[in-house]
């Protein structure tokens, strides 16, 4: 019986060595390792032998079975690997099968990025209606009736007192009417201006507005907050300047400029050779506005700011025709 076991081992090894294909290997498996194979047959034979011989032989046979299976598995692994590498049946350079990839609109991406910065500074997000009243859009914001300041905002009217908001600032009023200071809100949304549609102007666009009212808020905080924002958004190395301007709802009012991030202030096409880019308008909330919402103007001060999203996005992405944002060509959308 011992000899038979050795013989089986030898012939298994020979057969395994000769096996070149999956079919050869399968034949080896049937011949030696299957339920009716050579090794199983030896176990069967052992059952008829005297009990005293069984333990030793059984041990031998188990070793054979274990070694044969291991050798077989190893051979199968090598064979499988060489098949894949060596044969031309599977071309791994074929493309994968991708699912469609979704994209966020660049204007929304820009709003989200701006929002995120201010939210991390403790601002909340508020919104308001696009159809507004004359009061919220103008009156409450200290635009005197019949004043040239209203010319700055060419307005679409729906009826005598109803209009399409010309800026997101009405949301400031709505927010302050609803809560007491501290108010710290960021307000994105769509606004409308009666202007001819061209590469540089649209009848509707997005703005984002910010408002911070509390005790002890100063112009110095306005500068600090907006500079912190600009550094986060445009990069740590930008230089900035604030220039006086006029808005009816803020005083003092300031336009904020940053050094052109494309030419680093040397002057280029984007900054029209100025080296500076205007990025937002801002100012200390006019006491009349605070009074209109019932705040104590001696106790509270605040600042507000606003920026156009199309312009901000265009600076970022180098889009020179605003109409592209609303044409929604998927070749455009998929770039963002």
């Amino acid at each position: 019986m011992n000899a038979r076991i050795s013989e089986a081992r030898a012939s298994f090894q020979t057969a395994l060595e000769k096996a070149q294909t999956d079919a050869d290997l399968d034949q080896v498996r049937v011949q030696f390792l299957s339920r009716s194979g050579a090794i199983a047959n030896l176990f069967e034979e052992m059952r008829s032998l005297p009990v005293a011989e069984k333990p030793a032989l059984g041990k031998l046979l188990n070793v054979l079975k274990f070694e044969a299976q291991a050798a077989f598995d190893e051979k199968k692994r090598t064979l499988d690997a060489s098949t894949v590498r060596g044969s031309d049946t599977v071309d791994l350079t074929l493309p994968g099968r991708p699912r469609p990839v979704g994209t966020k609109h660049p204007l929304m991406q820009t709003i989200d990025d701006i929002k995120r910065i201010f939210v991390s500074m403790g601002f909340s997000v508020a919104t308001g209606p696009e159809i507004e009243t004359d009061y919220y859009n103008f009156g409450a914001l200290n635009f005197p009736a019949d004043h040239p300041a209203r010319d700055m905002q060419d307005t679409f009217f729906i009826s005598k007192d109803i209009l399409l908001r010309t800026h997101t600032s009405p949301v400031q009023i709505r927010t302050m009417e609803k809560q007491n200071p501290p108010v710290r809100e960021i307000m994105p949304g769509r606004v409308y201006r009666n202007e001819a549609i061209s590469a540089r102007s649209l009848v509707s666009f997005y703005q984002i507005e910010g408002l911070y009212v509390d005790q002890g808020v100063t112009f110095s905080d306005l500068k600090g907050t907006l500079v912190a924002f600009a550094r986060q958004f445009y990069g740590n190395d930008v230089r900035f300047k604030f220039r006086p301007t006029f808005f009816p709802f803020t005083e003092p009012s300031a336009d904020m400029y940053i050094s052109c991030f494309l030419c680093k202030g040397k002057g280029c096409r984007m900054c029209k050779q100025a080296g500076w880019l205007e990025i937002l308008g801002s100012g200390m909330v006019h006491p009349h506005v605070l009074k209109n919402v019932g705040y104590d103007t001696e106790k509270y001060t605040g600042f507000a700011f606003g920026m156009g999203i199309e312009r901000t996005a265009s600076l970022r992405y180098g889009v020179d025709d605003l109409r592209l944002y609303y044409e929604n060509d998927v070749r455009f959308l998929k770039q963002f």
């Binding site: 966020k104 040239p148 549609i197 100063t218 220039r243 005083e251």
Partner: protein, 807 residues
């Protein structure tokens, strides 16, 4: 607004370079958009002499000229009929930019190059006054004074050495609309004083009061009226210095009388008008409102219809000017004028604004009155004009001015607290520092207390009315950039922190699901607005018909996008948009915001192939069930399964074969295929599937408190059942019957096969379901499951007239 550098020097010694002046003024809020060195415009233009003129060999109307440009002779082809040998002319050399092209409808500039005109070489161009932008005559070339020297640069010939600034004036600073106004602002950045020249008039002995009468009827609208009379003037061209001043800032010289009124306007900001004294009935001026519907011809020759609130300047009989806007043709200065009445008045800003607006007529005068004019400037300006009329037109100035000034302006006094200033600005100025800043703006100290300073405001700063206005002036004079940049971030933990909105989550979800976000215009043409059958909100004053109505649905805008993409061969589209739609609640727009609907929607659009073209996967066009599947996925993510679909017969043609979505029993939106008649209007011949839902229907569902359902501890058992039913029986009915019959053990029902064909016969279909039984407390026996299945089969066979096909 254009401001001349040389002109400013009349009022303040300007030692700054133009670039520095532009930067410094901008930094205190007077924005200089740019400046132009006038000489630069005529780079490449020289005085030349025409030496010879011969006829062009191949063109009747052209001449071939030999011209001397100083250092050389050039051959130039010229088309002007008036060109002749011996003339002194202006030649643009090759490379020069001609300011205006008379062959271009917009007169755009062009660059000269060496050309051959009908076979004859031409090296430059002899220019007309139109082309040089020194006049409007385009019929012939500009012929210069014979004394002009060939080779002299044209800019030098014109005496151009000025620099002209373009300034953007903010709405609150009407006082900047003059040279003295800008000069005063320069006091902030330069250590110098600005002042107007004293006017020196040699008056005649005749008092003006005997020769003219002024009466203000409407004193609310006319706050002051100053008048002077100058007799025996000689109307003619202005001297060169005056013409140059006006031309530098873009005004066309007319005659000395009109030029003087314009000059004083640009000097002082006070609009003036000169009437032909002899055309004034009874030499009387009456200031009063017009009769409603009255007609009046302004000096531009246009007839205007007036309103009862239009303030007019009249003589004893008739209107002679629209106050503060434009004079009348009937009393205009002409070549025959010998006696002049000067008006220097102050009108109520809002009255002028209304008039200018409804007439659609904006003039240099109206723009200033609208913003306000210094009440104390009227007399000076009238005197100044009289002085110049005497000097430049040889007039006799009658003694004295008529000054009707019903309510003399009292100088404004404003108190400013040092503590408040520092509290708003975040600074620590002392009282003395604040005084020194504001003194530069000509504010005078009236009184000081420990914390407060009372300032007297100069009359030209009518924009300063309260404390905060002075605080801004302090900040401007100190310099915004010098104020400390401080950061304070104090997060308010008493309020719920911002954790992102539903819209943000929706956006992220769609992007993950492979949709591209689009944004479409909310203003569209009326036809699109009416597609839904809603009452669309219309704009009263649209900029164009294409943007006149607010969208009532996101679908029409999306179809415009689909059309655009298909036109570029981009047919496989998965798009979404989140945006507002609008409608009227009633029949007509009102003045009440509550009568308008503003509703935020989500739109999904699918068309083309299910997956991008690729090997190893079969092409399949998107169908309704792909969209429905996407909607189901979205809803399960955001609504926790509390939704259902309802068959929907749309009244409109917008969506056909539609389902309505109901969330928690509330209508949420529609999905289906865009109607054929609608698609055709967008030239789309493919099926477009859309789903439009209200964002508000999803609000609150997602954040509902989640509680864990324990995972099953015992194995579930699957059984498959196929039923043959009539084709008209709906899957939903069968599934509902199965679920109802199934009881608590039945955890899930999935339709896995739908078959129609020979094996089941005509008019029939086979629906195959996989049923999952999930016990919570034990392992199910075969007998228990069989009992469940039998009951289900029986109920379905009864309720749906079904036959069990196979198990």
């Amino acid at each position: 607004m254009k401001i001349s550098h040389n002109w400013l020097k009349e009022y303040i010694p300007v030692r700054l370079k133009p670039s520095q002046l532009a930067e410094d003024l901008s930094m205190i809020g007077l924005e200089v958009e740019g400046f132009e060195e006038l000489a630069a415009k005529y780079q490449g233009f020289v005085v030349a002499q025409v030496l010879e003129r011969t006829k062009h060999p191949h063109a009747d109307r052209l001449s071939v000229c030999k011209v001397n440009v100083g250092n050389e002779d050039l051959q130039i082809v010229c088309g002007a009929p008036n060109v002749d040998a011996g003339q002194k002319v202006v030649v643009g050399l090759v490379g020069a930019t001609v300011p205006r092209n008379q062959h271009d409808s917009d007169g755009r500039p062009f660059v000269l190059s060496q050309v051959s005109i009908r076979g004859v070489q031409s090296s430059g161009m002899i220019c007309s006054e139109y082309e040089l932008a020194v006049g409007d005559d385009a019929n012939g070339i500009l012929v210069l004074n014979p004394k002009a020297k060939p080779g002299t640069p044209f800019a030098k010939h014109l005496g151009l050495s000025d620099v002209v600034y373009s300034m953007e004036i903010t709405a609150n600073r009407g006082d900047w609309l003059s040279h003295i106004g800008v000069a005063r602002e320069l006091q902030v950045i330069m250590d110098a004083k600005a002042s107007l020249p004293a006017s020196l008039i040699k008056e005649s002995k005749t008092p003006v009061g005997k020769h003219a009468t002024i009466k203000i009827i409407d004193a609310a609208k006319c706050r002051r009226y100053v008048s002077r009379v100058v007799r025996n003037v000689k109307v003619g061209p202005s001297p060169k210095w005056l013409q140059d001043r006006l031309m530098a800032i873009g005004l066309r010289p007319i005659n000395n009388i009109v030029d003087i009124t314009n000059y004083v306007l640009m000097e002082t900001g006070q609009p003036l008008h000169a009437f032909d004294y002899d055309t004034l009935e009874r030499h009387t001026i009456v200031v009063k409102c017009a009769k409603d519907g009255e007609k009046f011809t302004t000096l531009d020759g246009k007839e205007r219809t007036l309103r009862a609130d239009t303030l007019m300047i009249c003589d004893a009989e008739k209107p002679i000017a629209i106050a503060g806007v434009m004079g009348g043709a009937n009393t205009e200065i002409s070549e025959r004028t010998t006696n002049v009445l000067i008006e220097s008045a102050n009108f109520d800003p809002s009255s002028i604004r209304k008039t200018s607006k409804y007439l659609g007529l904006s003039t240099d005068a109206s723009q200033r009155f609208e913003r306000g004019v210094d009440m104390e400037m009227s007399l000076y300006a009238a005197n100044r004009a009289a002085e110049l009329l005497q000097k430049l037109a040889g007039g006799e100035v009658l003694k004295g001015a008529i000054d009707v000034y019903p309510r003399k302006l009292q100088p404004a006094k404003i108190s400013l607290r040092v503590s408040r200033t520092n509290a708003v600005l975040g600074t620590s100025f002392t009282q003395n520092e604040i005084v020194s800043f504001l003194k530069r703006l000509e504010l005078k100290v009236a009184k000081r207390t420990r914390d407060s300073i009372t300032f007297i405001v100069p009359s030209f700063r009518y924009d300063l009315v309260e404390e905060i206005d002075l605080i801004e002036e302090v900040a401007r004079a100190y310099g915004y950039d010098k104020i400390e940049t401080k950061t304070r971030t104090t997060i308010d933990f008493t309020k719920p922190l911002n954790t992102g909105s539903l819209q943000e989550s929706l956006r992220d979800y769609f992007i993950g699901a492979g949709f591209n976000e689009m944004l479409t215009y909310s203003l569209q043409d009326k036809a699109k607005g009416l597609m839904t059958g809603e009452r669309a909100v219309e704009v009263l004053n649209p900029v164009s018909a294409e943007a006149s109505v607010l969208r009532t649905s996101l679908i029409p805008g999306a179809l415009t996008v689909v059309k655009h993409n298909r036109a570029h061969g981009l047919n496989d589209l998965r798009l979404f948009e989140i945006g507002n739609v609008f409608a009227l609640k009633g029949e007509k727009p009102t003045d009440d915001l509550a009568d308008f609907l503003e509703d935020e929607r989500i739109l999904m659009v699918m068309s083309g192939s299910v997956v991008p073209q690729q090997y190893g996967s079969e092409h399949r066009g998107v169908d309704f069930f792909d969209l429905k599947g996407e909607v189901q996925a979205l809803l399960s993510k955001f609504c926790l399964d509390k939704y259902r679909f309802i068959s929907y017969d749309t009244a409109g043609a917008l969506i056909e074969s539609a389902l309505a979505v109901e969330i928690n029993g509330t209508y949420a939106g529609l999905l289906g295929k865009v109607g054929k008649s609608i698609s055709e209007r967008f030239d789309i011949d493919d099926a477009i599937f859309v789903c439009e839902m209200r964002v508000s229907a999803l609000v609150g569902r997602r954040t509902a408190e989640k509680k864990l359902t324990p995972l099953p501890r015992f194995p579930s058992v699957d059984r498959d059942l196929a039923f043959v039913v009539d084709s008209v029986v709906q899957h939903e009915t069968v599934e509902r019957t199965i679920r109802e019959a199934g009881g608590t053990l039945l955890a899930n029902v999935v339709l896995f096969d739908l078959y129609q064909g020979d094996q089941v016969g005509a008019g029939k279909k086979s629906l195959a379901y996989s049923l999952e039984f999930q016990p919570l407390d034990r392992t199910l026996t075969d007998r228990e499951i069989d009992a469940e299945v039998n009951r289900i089969v029986q109920r379905v066979e009864e309720a749906c007239k079904a036959k069990l096909r196979a198990t």
